[in-house]
């Protein structure tokens, strides 16, 4: 093996642009087909999340009156000598509503953060 002068090796495509230099945000803005795919994905994910919260809500608001209607013995139960229905409808339902709201707000902010990370990627 004879000693040879070293040769610099370079890519022949060094000046060529990469496949995708513009962020998806511009596709969103210009309503291209690609932008539509992304925004549709976001809307679908958000809708699924909202429907989950609404499902919990509908089940409780249909279910609790129905339970009181179908099982009369619950109507007269007491907890620490306060009637149970008063505690459920008058007090317990408020922190439950707030917790659900807080959970939703956090979940949807996470969803949006993921979306932003994807569309602003170069």
């Amino acid at each position: 093996m004879s000693p040879q002068s070293r040769v610099r090796v370079t890519s022949s495509r060094r000046g060529a642009s990469t496949a995708r230099a513009r962020p998806v945000a511009r596709d969103l803005d210009e309503q291209t087909t690609l932008g539509d795919v992304y925004i549709d994905g976001l809307i679908r994910a958000q809708r699924r999340l909202s429907l989950r919260v609404l499902a919990v809500l509908v089940a409780s608001l249909i279910g609790l009156p129905l339970l009181l209607w179908e099982v009369p013995s619950i109507r007269t139960m007491t907890l620490a000598s306060v009637p149970l229905p008063w505690i459920l409808i008058g007090v317990a339902i408020y922190p439950a509503t707030w917790s659900l709201a807080r959970w939703y707000a956090r979940a949807t902010e996470r969803l949006e953060a993921d979306f932003i990370a994807v569309v602003e990627e170069q």
């Binding site: 229905p85 408020y94 509503t97 949006e112």
Partner: protein
């Protein structure tokens, strides 16, 4: 003595409202300040303002009165008022803020690109606003007459003048501060007397309230309605979905800095409302203990105001009564000013501004038209409140919720989440919902009361007319794909893309 203290307390609340409104006046410069406070209100301030605006005569007096009168089934009303904000949160809060529109009619026009649907929405906003304003004037008259013996036209007149001045002078910016102060005023005014009365009740050995089974346990015979389960469900639907369609509620969301702010505000609102609604049942239960029967001429709406003087004769009772009267006026003033603000905005945009521009060739000042609209927005419902017999405060408010649930709720839900909504679909849905809800209520008030299922269906129409309106909207939209607005794709991008993503073309400038 009693009447003097209460009169002073009512006067102080009115003065605070005007003073804080006046402070806002110096900050109001541009037209957008008048409408939505320049969109720079923080979530916490905004949440207090929403709470302050939302807790009306119905919440402060009406809920306790209804629970006192009809028992545990009425606890569902404040639940519905609160859960309405959860539905609003998951369905429209952020998209509505991102829509960039000022009012419900603005949204309808932006989404559907139709002047006619905008006009129909405007008529509904004014109608719902006035329907909601009438019980505020009734409540003010009832309160002032009860605590000071003033003639019954005076209370409503005071509220009308104060909100007319506050709205006409400062617009929304001043109202935001006023509303935030009034939430805390109302909570304090209802909480302190409640704790004092509870403490006295415990010291007296916690005597059991005089109750019947029908009052204390759900769905017992002689309760709310011939079909109590249906009534409960239908009322919950009206309240949960109606909240998002109330004109003074949604306009608040435009004052948030962004969509995330709008959601955080709503979560705080739910907490604030939850705290507040723990209090009315206390008055109802204590009322059953100390005032088992009311004279036939006294409406149960007044139970909150009657209780302190009954439990605590003398000066202490008078001070508590004065406090409650002040809090009640804070409730009337805050809700009425929020409603008046929305109705004023719509009247100004649809009626006054185009009319003035035609009459003066474009010379009239914008703020002048706004002030004329403010006067119109309060005088007409005041006059209506003088000629209508008061139903229960919470009952009248319920009518406004039902109309909002049957008209705006399907439009907003489908408009935000479904690309397929067409102009004809939206118009047909609005017509069905408005016709069904207003028709049923008119029939049951004028021709009723009816017995059995007919009476139940007519007096609580939300359970059938909200799904019907939504169904008609969807079916007609599917049948008329040609009238799906061409800008739908762009609007969907605007409604759902987070603000941090830069959109130069799809978003409106604030």
């Amino acid at each position: 003595m009693n009447s003097l203290l209460s009169a002073v307390s009512v006067a102080v609340v009115c003065l605070i409202t005007l003073l804080v409104g006046g402070l806002g006046l110096r900050l109001s410069r541009a037209t957008s300040d008048f409408y939505v406070a320049g969109r720079t209100v923080s979530p916490r301030l905004n949440a207090s303002a929403i709470g302050g605006e939302y807790l009306s005569a119905a919440s402060f007096l009406g809920v306790a009165g209804l629970i006192y009168d009809r028992g545990v089934d009425m606890l569902w009303l404040p639940v519905g008022y609160t859960v309405g904000y959860l539905v609003l949160l998951v369905v429209v809060a952020a998209p509505m803020r991102r829509s960039g529109a000022y009012t419900l009619p603005d949204f309808a026009e932006a989404r559907l690109g139709s002047r006619r649907i905008r006009l129909a929405s405007s008529v509904l906003v004014v109608g719902i606003g006035w329907l909601y304003l009438i019980p505020q004037f009734h409540g003010a008259s009832l309160t002032l007459t009860l605590v000071t013996g003033a003639p019954d036209w005076l209370g409503g007149l005071i509220v009308m003048v104060v909100i007319g001045l506050a709205v006409g002078a400062g617009g929304m910016r001043s109202i935001t501060f006023v509303q935030a102060v009034q939430y805390w005023l109302k909570l304090t005014a209802l909480a302190i007397p409640a704790f004092v009365l509870l403490a006295i009740w415990f010291r007296q050995g916690a005597p059991a309230p005089v109750t019947t089974t029908a009052w204390a346990s759900p769905f017992a015979a002689g309760g709310v309605d011939s079909h109590p389960l249906y009534w409960t469900w239908s009322t919950l639907i009206a309240l949960c979905l109606g909240t998002m369609g109330l004109p003074h509620v949604l306009v608040r969301f435009y004052t948030n800095p962004d969509g995330i702010g709008a959601r955080r505000t709503t979560v705080t609102v739910i907490a604030l409302l939850g705290f507040f609604y723990l209090l009315p049942p206390v008055y109802a239960v204590l009322g059953r203990g100390y005032l088992p029967t009311l004279p036939a001429s006294v409406r149960s709406d007044s139970i909150v105001l009657q209780l302190p003087a009954t439990v605590l004769p003398g000066l202490a009772g008078q001070i508590l009564t004065a406090m409650l009267a002040g809090g009640a006026f804070a409730a009337f003033l805050s809700t009425a000013s929020g409603l008046a603000m929305s109705v004023t905005g719509v009247l100004d945009q649809e009626l006054l501004r185009p009319g003035l521009a035609r009459a003066t060739g474009g010379d009239a000042s914008e703020i002048g038209g706004f002030r004329v609209s403010a006067v119109l927005a309060v005088i007409i419902p005041y006059l209506l409140s003088r000629v209508t017999a008061p139903l229960g405060l919470a009952t009248t408010v319920g009518l406004a919720f039902t109309v909002a649930a049957a008209t705006f709720a399907p439009l907003l839900m489908l408009g935000v989440w479904w690309r397929g909504l067409s102009r004809w679909g939206a118009a047909a849905g609005l017509a069905t919902g408005a016709g069904g809800a207003i028709g049923a209520m008119a029939l049951s008030i004028v021709g009723g009361p009816y017995d059995g299922w007919l009476g139940a269906l007519l007096s609580a129409p939300a359970m059938w007319c909200v799904p019907l309106a939504a169904l008609v909207t969807v079916v007609v939209s599917v049948a008329t794909p040609g009238s799906i607005p061409s800008g739908t794709a762009r609007i969907m991008v605007r409604l759902h893309t987070p603000e941090r993503v830069a959109l130069a073309r799809s978003r409106l400038r604030d």
